[in-house]
Symmetry: C2
Subunit: 244 residues, 2 copies
């Protein structure tokens, strides 16, 4: 695990993060966004910023999870493993996303860093107590859970009833929207920090099918494949495939 000394404060009692949070690009989107100044200060006291290098494990299926996280920088993949090694990625967490909603039950999943990642980490218990004392936060959590649930249902449609091309078109446009929300502006170039295998495991395909389908879409002039991403060339046709 890499420690970036500038912001890793785990060795201190709690976060001295006035600056960190003030400048946080993810704040408005994150669970923090709903809070008044006073309540926010209370939450900051619980916050421990932590950095992970690419491939680091945030938590896994087996061990009980003692923390919840908000992603500040980087991309995290969330996935489940079957005993024989098959993997289903249930989501990619981008800056602003909160990890810890579905951790209550015995049902677990794994989370590891796709890129280098910075998170705000909270003790599960402390965070839970805090939430119980702040109905505003409870409400916010419920709204986020509701939103996650809606996304999960979309993903079920995608996994159960769409072919490879539709899956990839939806995936690309969905990611484009999420990046736009984070950066504040829509870009025709979609960053794909995750590898082909990750995309395959997210869409319920194999790596070969992802590769073939993307390259066919490129041949059909729907997209151009660039290093670590794709460029959308025909947004209209892509959208019509995605929602078909």
């Amino acid at each position: 695990m890499v420690h970036l000394s500038a912001i890793d404060t785990r060795t201190h009692g709690h976060c001295d993060c006035g600056d960190l949070c003030r400048g946080c690009e993810a704040r408005a989107l994150s669970v923090c966004g709903s809070l008044e100044d006073e309540a926010f200060a209370g939450l900051q006291k619980l916050n421990h910023p932590v950095n992970f290098p690419a491939r680091a494990v945030l938590f896994n299926q087996e061990t009980p999870v003692r923390h919840v996280f908000t992603v500040v920088h980087g991309v995290v993949r969330l996935y489940k493993l079957l005993p024989d090694g098959r993997r289903q990625i249930v989501g990619f967490a981008l800056p602003g996303d909160f990890l810890g909603l579905a951790l209550a039950d015995g049902y677990g999943f794994c989370a590891d860093a796709v890129t280098a990642v910075t998170v705000c980490r909270f003790s599960r218990d402390h965070f839970g107590d805090y939430a119980d004392d702040h109905p505003q936060m409870l409400r916010r959590l419920h709204d986020m859970a509701t939103h996650e649930l809606a996304l999960a249902q979309q993903q079920m449609v995608l996994l159960g009833r769409r072919d490879a091309e539709e899956k990839l078109a939806s995936f690309l446009l969905g990611l484009q929207k999420r990046w736009a929300r984070i950066s504040g502006k829509t870009s025709v170039t979609i960053d794909l920090p995750m590898g082909r295998q990750d995309i395959a495991d997210f869409l319920g395909l194999t790596i070969e099918t992802v590769s073939r389908t993307l390259n066919r879409m490129a041949r059909d002039k729907l997209i151009v494949i660039v290093p670590d991403g794709v460029r959308v060339m025909d947004a209209a046709r892509l959208e019509s495939i995605a929602s078909a």
Copy 2:
């Protein structure tokens, strides 16, 4: 729509349902289960019991949803439709299940009755106001949303990474557990009120594959197919297929 006069009170201002709720078999499992007497009385005031015959539509993707529901009797299917008619069932709601968690966003889904159904219906706005005034309820809703989310993730693994036999085995055992929780006792006979097409649309298969796979499982003496259900003959082997 069928009105069972004994309990349909929609024409009254609100529910005169002391008896109904007291005898409610779903109460402990439902959203009501978390409430103290006083808070519960407040919720009862908002309650409108309604009956639907099989196939009745509770709500659909297009129209904004003005109510939330708790299923008391019967089975409801929740699904999304693609423009070309493909259908993905995202869940079956059994007695005690709450409908209204994922209804906030623009993302909609449809709900209709698989069997004759009785629900407790609440105005969305009234229920929301009530929840905002009762942190206990807010907390309960969040826990339910969290649980739903965990189930949704399980379903993603099933849809994305399991073959037909594994899907069916998981489905049957999952339903067996849910019925057991409702009735308080495990039965080797699993009631299947939904048709083959519904099962197919839930598992991301076709009706033919569901039929063939179930009959093969019967030939292999894993199950016996009975009218409106199956009987589990080899639970151990079924479980090992389901969790494979």
